[in-house]
Symmetry: C2
């Protein structure tokens, strides 16, 4: 497992401390919510990538830890704002912040996290990183706005989907892996390549995430929840079906969602074999990331990056 | 009038162009909304203060214009997020963004504006400003969260109110006036003093703004709308009344708001003379700002700052 990497293990602990420090606020309600948010954890993939990327250069914990933490904080902020919009009640098995404290506090807590992230980045005093991270954040917003505009649209194309997840998810993965190496003084070529690898990991991550909404069985109801579909977020498997000879049948199944709790949809997606088709797209990104990583110079973090890449395909949550 | 200042007039036009450039996005819906937002204008007080502050040092349009624009963009972003929370339908006579496009797009558009602001600030490549502006944004969030937590509380103290508007409003005014002078290479003393002056202008601005909710007559209904009170945002006049011998009567009037459309409240506030009392607090801030400005070194923008200070007391909207 990639977490066996000793440096990474050590640094991830430092990052948790940094997060704890940065997520302090004088408002007790928000403080409590932020602590809960931190404890509920998550994969911490983005800061891990920052640490691993930095091992390709001259590793300096003093700058990499706050940088990695700032990227996780940006991720947390976008999650909070996403949850407001999707009206999500649970995330990672815990109640979401806006569900606990109302959308009011959630909007500001997200904003607060953005400012905290920027304060950390400003502390590192690297103007180019500030620009790039601001740009990555703008891509995230673009992706989210696109997703919102494409909601319930039965005409979304694969190209539109890929563009949207490239902004929504892959931009921050790219930034996470590249930022570490940039700060560690790697060559432009290595930084660029790590950026592309990060982007491809992010694309695969999001496609698999989207597939899981169709395939992972919710323990309570014993079948997939189709949360995305219900919220009108149409992802790759569904988009494939809507762009296939099963279009009419898929549309009918969508209209029947409420009635039959997605039973028709499940059947038509199976018939159209779109889960496998979507998985193949994810695998393509994984393979690209893998082969690009293989030809990177040797570094302490290289093996762990390869493991993270491979893990994306097998993950079940 | 302070807008007679020739340099200021010229620079405000440049700032509008900069805003137009920065508020570009590939999403047509958001683009349209942002254009409307820009056209609906507003006082542009914050960027004006940045320009005027910079006249105390070596004025360079190339850095001051983007800096001033970035502060206005942060202000716009906070307005959009505020409107989501207050569920405001109109601002400056125009439909609010979240009312036009839904809270979904409004959350992201606010975020998008924050990133645009940071991109501008990063372009100026001044790490200290980045830190300070991030901090000012954190104060804004704190103030907004406080305001939210104090909603409908009949026990809010004057101290709590002042602290909350100091974060919500005055921090960005302070930043706006100080940032320009800092970037223009002023001495630490001048930068600090301008920061204090900006803060005091912001305090007066917000107190007067809050008073106007009680005194300005809405043309449609021919009497004050008491929007803040209805939304549970209790401001200085009301807080004075709730901390006076008229407490019980004021509480009863609040409970009767829906029934009598604020008629009892209007009467008790008049009897308690709290509008005048609140205005006096604003005047105290104005006087402090004025005397601190008088002893500043001479500069092209000094007279205009004094006019802006005096204007706060007389403004009717």
């Amino acid at each position: 497992m990639w977490m066996d990497n000793e440096l990474l293990q050590h640094e991830m602990k430092q990052i948790e401390s940094q997060l704890k420090k940065s997520l302090k606020t004088r408002n007790k309600t928000v403080q409590g919510a932020l602590e809960k948010l931190q404890q509920s954890g998550g994969k911490r993939l983005r800061p891990a990538l920052t640490v691993l990327g930095a091992t390709f250069g001259e590793y300096d914990s003093n700058t990499i830890v706050p940088l990695a933490a700032s990227l996780e904080i940006i991720h947390m902020a976008t999650l909070i704002h996403d949850d407001i919009i999707d009206d999500t009640k649970l995330r990672r098995g815990s109640e979401t912040l806006h569900s606990m404290l109302g959308k009011d506090v959630a909007v500001y807590t997200g904003d607060f996290l953005f400012t905290r992230a920027f304060m950390l980045i400003a502390d590192i005093a690297e103007v180019k990183l500030m620009k790039d991270i601001s740009k990555a954040m703008a891509y995230i917003c673009d992706g989210e706005i696109d997703q919102n505009e494409q909601r319930y649209s039965k005409n979304t194309t694969v190209k539109q989907y890929l563009k949207r997840i490239s902004g929504k998810t892959a931009a921050l993965f790219a930034m996470s892996l590249a930022a570490g190496s940039y700060k560690a003084g790697c060559s432009k070529k290595v930084v660029n390549n790590l950026g592309i690898i990060g982007r491809d990991i992010g694309m695969a991550f999001q496609i698999i995430d989207d597939i899981l909404d169709f395939t992972s069985v919710e323990s309570k109801i014993g079948k997939p929840a189709f949360n995305d579909v219900i919220q009108g977020v149409y992802t790759l498997p569904l988009i494939f079906a809507l762009n296939s000879k099963h279009k009419a049948e898929t549309e009918a199944a969508l209209d029947r969602m409420e009635e039959d709790h997605g039973e028709s949809l499940r059947k038509v997606l199976e018939k159209a074999e779109v889960i496998e088709k979507a998985r193949k797209v994810a695998i393509k990104y994984i393979e690209k990331a893998r082969s690009k990583t293989m030809i990177l110079p040797d570094a302490l973090g290289k093996e762990a990056i390869l493991e993270i890449i491979d893990q994306q395909i097998s993950r079940k949550f």
